[in-house]
């Protein structure tokens, strides 16, 4: 455990807060000071409000003093990706389009975190409208990876992973449409959990691709992920795609659910293009589980090669429609060029959106357009069925799948200019979104040059408890999460 407050875990800090060894104001001040110190190099935040955070912290301290603590998150500074609505706070999606937008309402996860007493801290940078894998697509500039600020933190939730890794928050929330939590978690050496589709409400989450998006936590440990998930999960009447699932005590499950488990190794995830150092690290993780008595089985997900194409058809189609609302009429950037409504739309959107967003809107509009729908969108939805069946088939024999999270470690900012090359960052993560499964990335080592490596565990639908317990077993036996970037 780090001696530095801002590098400690929720579990540890909650105990210290409960024991009155520490106040939330002290903790929040430490996080603010750390943020102010490292932000010039990291740029994880689009905005933050120190006074507001300290007021929340003081309120938390008052609750604890009155014996009315709301639980382990009470008083813990948690950062939110800038796609999650908080009343009275900016909500930009890292886009010029929403540069001045202030949300008049709370996302459901925001309401839940407020109820849990968390100190909501800052709006975290990301790829514009969550489209990207490097956080370079932000209209407000890229975020640096705390392990090497000349490199990307991954994306799209790169601000969330970088802020946590750099000690600018104790936990953060991100959103994951095709790997946007797990890949940046891997690249920044933190835990990132993408829950089963429907477990966490999307109400108040700026939509990228509605059938794929899911909010999840970034934390230092699996235990912390269990704590945050417990606070944000659950049915929401305002999200029609939210499930009426019983929410178990995820934290208790970490120790109550015991192996040995059966783990599947999808052979398609260890093919050409995988960085050899990552392959080695993940193989060591496999060996660890084997040493613990777990049964390791090679499995096949035969439609893996079609995941990327399926994903880019479905995600861009949904996005092209989801982003239609950004038109400069009711809110958002309005061009001064337009003379009539049609002009206003076209110019406001041309000025407000960055190149990657435009590319995806164009692609998504195209695949839905007259004459192409069947060949692209409908066909992709059918292939999606096959992809999901692959996973469900594999889960007849195994409890979880173990794979690399990202085919490569953090790359240099500006290194990947070709969109297609960037799309390949997500090859191990997007299948999970298409199938609606839960998956977690846990740190599993470092490259020789000191960049973090993540392993991905993919679980059965709704079995987060099991997934977290499997990840926790690995984490307990390794000390990756006790290592911090040096500044």
């Amino acid at each position: 455990m780090s001696s530095k407050l801002y590098f400690r875990t929720i579990a540890d800090l909650a105990a210290a807060l409960d024991a009155k060894q520490l106040s939330s104001v002290e903790l929040t001040q430490a996080v603010i000071a750390r943020t102010q110190a490292v932000e010039p190099r990291i740029h994880a935040f689009n905005s933050f409000d120190e006074a507001d955070a300290l007021a929340q912290a003081a309120a938390s301290d008052a609750r604890r003093a009155a014996g009315q603590s709301c639980g382990p998150l009470d008083g813990i500074p948690i950062g939110l990706k800038d796609v999650i609505a908080v009343t009275g706070q900016p909500l930009t999606a890292s886009s010029k389009m929403l540069k001045d937008f202030v949300s008049p309402y709370d996302a459901t996860v925001t309401t839940k975190l407020k109820k849990a007493g968390a100190v909501l801290w800052g709006r975290l940078n990301c790829d514009e409208f969550a489209m990207g894998s490097s956080t370079e697509n932000s209209a407000f500039g890229p975020t640096g990876n705390p392990w090497d600020p000349t490199r990307v933190p991954g994306g799209s939730s790169g601000g969330s992973s970088a802020a946590l890794a750099a000690g600018e928050a104790i936990a953060t929330l991100g959103s994951d449409t095709g790997g946007s939590i797990r890949q940046p978690a891997a690249l920044c050496g933190v835990v990132g959990l993408k829950p089963t589709y429907g477990l966490v409400s999307r109400f108040g989450l700026i939509a990228f691709a509605s059938s794929l998006d899911q909010i999840g936590p970034f934390t230092r440990t699996v235990e912390d992920a269990a704590i945050v998930l417990g606070a944000i999960a659950g049915h929401d009447e305002r999200d029609s795609t939210s499930f009426q699932a019983e929410i178990p005590d995820y934290r208790a499950a970490l120790t109550s659910q015991r192996g040995p488990w059966k783990l599947g190794i999808p052979k398609e995830y260890f093919a050409a293009g995988l960085d050899p150092e990552i392959a080695t690290a993940v193989e060591k993780a496999i060996a660890f589980y084997q040493s613990q008595g777990c049964e390791i089985r090679e499995v096949s997900l035969p439609h893996t090669q079609y995941c990327l194409d399926t994903y880019y058809v479905i995600a861009t189609a949904e996005a092209s429609s989801n982003l239609s609302r950004y038109d400069g009429i009711r809110y958002g950037h309005r061009s001064a060029v337009g003379k009539d409504a049609v002009d206003i739309y076209a110019h406001s959107r041309a000025e407000g959106f960055g190149p990657e967003v435009k590319r995806r809107i164009i692609l998504g509009t195209y695949v839905l357009s007259s004459g192409y729908y069947d060949a692209y969108y409908l066909r992709a939805q059918k292939v999606r069925t096959l992809i999901r069946q692959d996973f469900l088939h594999a889960f007849r024999d195994v409890d979880a799948l173990l794979t690399p999270t990202s085919p490569m470690p953090a790359f240099k900012i500006g290194e990947k200019a070709d969109p297609l090359a960037l799309y390949l960052c997500d090859i191990y993560t997007i299948g999970v979104n298409l199938a609606g499964l839960p998956a977690i990335s846990v740190p599993c080592g470092f490259t020789k040059s000191g960049l973090p490596i993540g392993a991905q565990l993919i679980g059965q639908p709704w079995k987060e408890s099991n997934l977290l317990a499997i990840a926790h077993a690995y984490e307990r036996a390794h000390d990756w999460s006790a290592q911090f970037p040096i500044f």
């Binding site: 796609v83 999650i84 609505a85 029609s240 795609t241 038109d327």
Partner: protein, 511 residues
């Protein structure tokens, strides 16, 4: 050459709900601008739709009333197009899996006279689907202002087959749909409030041809008489173009009811490509037998079916049923009074309601019935019939069905005479007192007549009018009337006409 018009209607009906189609902020009309919004209505970043159960109930009910097949499973699609009144720039609608399929609307065409029943037809429906309304644009000279209060109101789109052939049919169709929706409690269908809106697809072809001609979409038929006038106008315009040797172009035209003209809407928009796809934010709807059965039980008898039953059950003529059945409350009122009055008295009951009660009600609430042209009524052209009173006036009228039944029986028994009964009715409407009490109080009862005395007067009349007696005996029934005058005169007008008639016939029979 003779031409036949082919007309299909797309009717949008706002469903009467408390909250919007996909969010729970209130619906309403006439509120201050932008006071009925929330993040979902305004399509704020992150907002998500959730279905309104009552709107689903309403459309299924509409489907059942119109004999549609209710799809066991339906889904939601996004119709993508940009317009400032559409906050998301897509409308949530139903594309290839609408909730109601097929079905038909029964219509009645005007007959040669208004007391005759016209021809009935069934106009087949293609589908009915559910969607959401858009906001309202207020156009100024140089700019437009947008109010999103209406945006998101549940909207039902009823699409007919291209199966109508005249403006008259379209008019009857719309009238029938409106009555059905009001009957089912689905919508108030107030066209002034935009609760019922109609677009027409119109083409012409030579009589006997089976192909469809070039289709023109006529928009903004926003009053029920504009529908008839606009379609009439468009049919004439198309025939004129063709007869001049011109060619019709597929277009959308805007009808101006004030000037009775239409003009092409040359949209600046490119050709539409709505890019429909299933809305990923919403889950599909599954309608099981139990749900349908429950709603079926709530479905009222529709006007034409009621009319047929009234003919059967009460033997009341068309001239009465054509007024009574178009207003559900009025029809119920009639039935209650007819039941109370007893067998054989339904026609008298109906006469009192149609002639006297409706007159009293419209007198009492002249303002409320001012938009009588917008209410369901007989499809008979140019009405002339009393417009059914508004629901409030009927519900709060002091004249209850029991009053009418009692009055009918008093007349029938000869306790009061017709003229006296009219006076009693007026007072009854003002005070709500029982007719017997009014008759008593105001001395309007027919004098009790000694039957011996009556028989004497009748014998005198028969003796004094041999010519009439001879005519009657030879089969001219109406000749008996000539005998009644002297009897009534002798009775000073207070004899019961029915009793006079009976007595005369009895005496004549034994002669």
């Amino acid at each position: 050459m003779n031409y036949e018009a082919v007309i299909g209607l797309e009717v949008h009906v706002q469903i009467k709900t408390q909250s919007k189609m996909f969010t729970r902020v209130a619906t309403g009309y006439g509120h201050e601008p932008n006071t009925l919004t929330d993040p979902v209505v305004l399509a704020l970043p992150g907002a998500l739709p959730v279905m309104n159960k009552a709107a689903l109930d309403a459309i299924i009910k509409a489907g059942l009333l119109l004999g549609c097949e209710i799809a066991p499973v339906c889904k939601w699609d996004r119709k993508n197009y940009f317009y400032p009144d559409s906050p998301k720039n897509y409308q949530i609608s139903q594309y290839d899996q609408p909730i109601c399929l097929g079905g038909s609307v029964e219509i009645e065409l005007p007959a040669s006279a208004r007391n005759l029943m016209g021809e009935h037809k069934k106009i087949p429906l293609t589908r009915i689907h559910l969607e959401e309304d858009v906001g309202k644009l207020n156009h100024g000279a140089t700019d437009s202002l947008v109010d999103y209060n209406r945006a998101g109101t549940p909207l039902m789109e009823i699409v007919s087959d291209p199966a109508m052939h005249s403006a008259e049919e379209a008019y009857a169709y719309l009238t029938s749909i409106r009555a059905t929706m009001i009957y089912g409690g689905i919508s108030d269908c107030d066209m002034e409030k935009g609760q019922l809106r109609c677009d027409a697809n119109i083409s012409i072809r030579p009589v006997g041809a089976t192909h469809l001609g070039t289709k023109v979409e006529l928009k903004n038929l926003n009053s029920i008489s504009f529908v008839r006038d606009g379609i009439d106008h468009e049919i004439k315009r198309q025939i004129a173009v063709v007869e001049r040797g011109g060619t019709l172009v597929q277009e959308t035209r805007d009808y101006d009811g004030q000037t009775g003209t239409s003009q092409s809407l040359r949209s600046k928009e490119m050709a539409h490509d709505y890019r429909y796809f299933p809305d990923p934010d919403l889950m599909p709807v599954r309608v099981d037998a139990e749900w349908k059965t429950r709603l079926q039980a709530e479905c009222p008898e529709l006007p034409f079916a009621k009319q047929r039953r009234f003919f059967e059950q009460y033997q009341v003529p068309y001239s009465l049923t054509s007024v009574l059945v178009w207003d559900r409350m009025l029809a119920d009122y009639f039935e209650a009074a007819a039941q109370l009055a007893g067998p054989g008295k339904a026609q008298a009951v109906g006469n009192w309601i149609v002639n006297d009660l409706l007159r009293e009600l419209s007198r009492g609430s002249a303002a409320a019935v001012g938009d009588a042209a917008l209410r369901p009524r007989s499809p008979a052209r140019d009405g002339g019939l009393a417009a059914p009173a508004d629901a409030h006036a009927l519900a709060t009228s002091k004249v209850r069905p029991a009053h009418i039944a009692a009055l009918v029986n008093m007349v029938d028994a000869g306790t009061v005479l017709t003229n006296a009964a009219k006076e009693i009715f007026i007072e009854m409407a003002a005070t709500g007192d029982q007719p017997a009490a009014i008759a008593e109080k105001r001395g309007l009862c027919a004098a009790p007549i000694d039957t011996n005395e009556l028989e004497t007067w009748c014998r005198d009349a028969i003796a004094a009018n041999p010519k009439a007696v001879a005519e009657y005996k030879s089969g001219k029934d109406s000749a008996i009337n000539a005998l009644k005058g002297p009897v009534m005169k002798a009775a000073k007008g207070k004899a019961n006409p029915k009793l006079v008639d009976e007595t005369l016939r009895r005496l004549l029979a034994v002669m």
